[in-house]
Amino acid sequence: MNTTPEPLLDVRDLRVTFSRRGRRDVAAVDGVSLTVGAGQTVGVVGESGSGKSVTSLAIMGLLPRRGVRVEGQVSFDGRSLLTMTDDQLRQVRGRDIAMVFQDPMTSLNPVIPVGVQVTEVLERHRGMSGREARDEAARLLERVGIPDGRQRLKEYPHQLSGGMRQRALIAIALACQPRLLIADEPTTALDVTIQAQILELLKELVAASGTALILITHDLGVVAGLCDTVNVMYSGRIVESAPRHPLFGSPRHPYTGGLLGSVPRLDAPRAEPLRPIPGSPNDTLPWPNGCAFAPRCANRIDTCTEVTPDLEWTGERGLRCHNPLAPAELSAGAAR
């Protein structure tokens, strides 16, 4: 899946371990590798607790120092992010890599006007000040679809609606035309109509500026419309990785299949019940003992609870499964 010779972001074997005194260490991210080429859009999908957000925070260097061990390699444009000093990282953050967070309600500072929060990035990285910064900030707000940007600069976050706030956050993230944008569940806290607008906006902006995008979500519908390649994570590891069409057309990992099966479809007959994945993410097996998904898996065979599956690549698809779904299995089921 290396379409470009040198990917913009190259994550190799990333491991994030949380250790607390008196408790066993928890590997929230367990050997994740992914690459993002310039201008590419990559999705990371998984349930809560699968390690998606921790992956993104680790890439940004935003995890706390204490009690967290980050191993592996993260190189951005040939430079290693994990070995950078705080100062160097602060130069990269916002200018080269930016992030949009999940909850627009709490991600803006409630006591500072929105405008100041946009201009502070411009002042920090683009050396603008005063009027120039305010003009640019107003232009940015209008670009993300906030009408009357100049007036909005003076407003406080609580005067904006949820959608507007997420737009403002996107404006802040894109203020310095970063080469990589990480969007961590950017639409989860918004209602459905606004979700669609925000996704459309992200798609547009990313296409227009050539920014690469890592889209982290638990919603396959979000990924479907936007991503070039999709990584499905379960319990800290990538279980399936493939370009969008093959993945949606014929998922091979039972977990991916389960996720797709549990999405309500408008074209399905009314009486047909949703097919949720049984159990919860708590019912996992530690990876070293076998496949973490095995306790919830319909395709489970004996090997699954005995041997840890590896991520094996066939062409553009990576799969971590002993007994994958047959290529047509789900499409046959879902077509009915």
């Binding site: 953050r93 709490t106 991600s107 803006l108 006591v111 920090r124 406080y156 005067q159 956050l169």
Partner: protein
């Protein structure tokens, strides 16, 4: 009106009501609708006016023994048309002394609160902003301060600095430092983990800027409220300390606490001399407490609407 309330007032004049509307402007709106706040503000206003214009309002000087010839052993003349609240045991006009006493209470109350606020916030800021060993050091310092009994400290200060107004202020301010320091630190710690701090970090904002323009403004509300409430306690403490004879050395300076102490020997002859300074203390402390409490409610997002 207290300094904090005045600041809020200043804030509203800066921000255009229609477009602006920060947390503080909204708090101001809620404050205006709260009868307790209005009552508190009126009492505080009364107190401030009296303190400011005591020389204009007082019919006599606070130390003039204008009615000395009317004092007989065992009998102190009560209220009359000349002396509305009567005179004290040395023939000084009681009303005038009460009015001038407001000045002392105000200066000591505000002075000690400001000193406590300043050093407390400095300590809290260092602890909450820098963290690590600075935090540990500052908090141990606070622990030490908390372990010193207030009265003992007041006596020590009086012995070291002498019985001056400044000494009184220090004696009241120092025990307040740990309160402010802990409050600001705790509040900053809570906000340090907030999403918007993470968001600011994610775009590379400098740590110093994150602390001063993101964390501190969000953490200040409880500290400001505590300041208003402390004004009330400071006034009571000032009266208590001068009641105990730890106030200013100069017996001529009218202090409510000392007036109360002086009146003790004449309780049978003139009980009103004991009541009047008490009422003055209660009313001024009540004003600041009411205002402080309603300010807390107004600034607390949970009380919204």
């Amino acid at each position: 009106m207290s300094i904090q309330a005045a600041e809020i007032l200043a804030e509203t004049t800066h921000v255009d009501e229609e477009h602006g509307g920060s947390v503080r402007v909204e708090a101001w709106r809620r404050l205006r609708r709260n009868p307790a706040a209005i009552a508190g503000a009126l009492l505080v206003l009364l107190f401030l006016l009296v303190a400011a214009f005591a020389p204009l309002l007082a019919p006599y000087g606070p130390t003039d023994q204008v009615a000395l010839d009317q004092i007989r052993p065992g009998s102190i003349p009560g209220p009359s048309s000349e002396h509305v609240l009567g005179v004290d045991n040395l023939g000084r006009d009681e009303l005038s002394r009460l009015l001038y006493g407001a000045r002392q209470s105000l200066i000591i109350g505000v002075g000690s609160t400001l000193i406590g606020f300043f050093f407390g916030c400095l300590l809290g800021l260092a602890a909450g902003g820098l963290g690590g060993w600075v935090d540990g050091l500052a908090m141990r310092l606070v622990d030490i301060m908390l372990s010193i009994p207030g009265l003992l400290f007041a006596i020590a200060v009086a012995a070291l600095v002498g019985k001056t107004r400044l000494g009184l202020m220090i004696a009241i301010a120092v025990p307040a430092i740990p309160i402010f320091a802990r409050l600001l630190r705790g509040s900053m710690l809570a906000h340090r983990e907030a999403d918007y701090v993470m968001a600011a970090k994610s775009v590379g904002v400098r740590q110093s800027r994150i602390v001063f323009s993101h964390i501190v403004p969000n953490s200040l509300s409880p500290v400001l409220v505590q300041g208003t409430l402390l004004l009330a306690t400071a006034i009571i403490d000032a009266a208590a300390l001068s009641f105990l004879g730890l106030g200013t050395d100069d017996p001529g300076v009218p202090e409510w606490g000392r007036m109360l102490a002086d009146s003790q020997s004449y309780l049978a002859a003139a009980a009103h001399l004991a009541f009047l300074p008490c009422i003055a203390i209660v009313i001024s402390a009540l004003g600041f407490t009411l205002l402080g409490e309603s300010l807390r409610e107004a600034l607390d997002p949970r009380f919204r609407r």
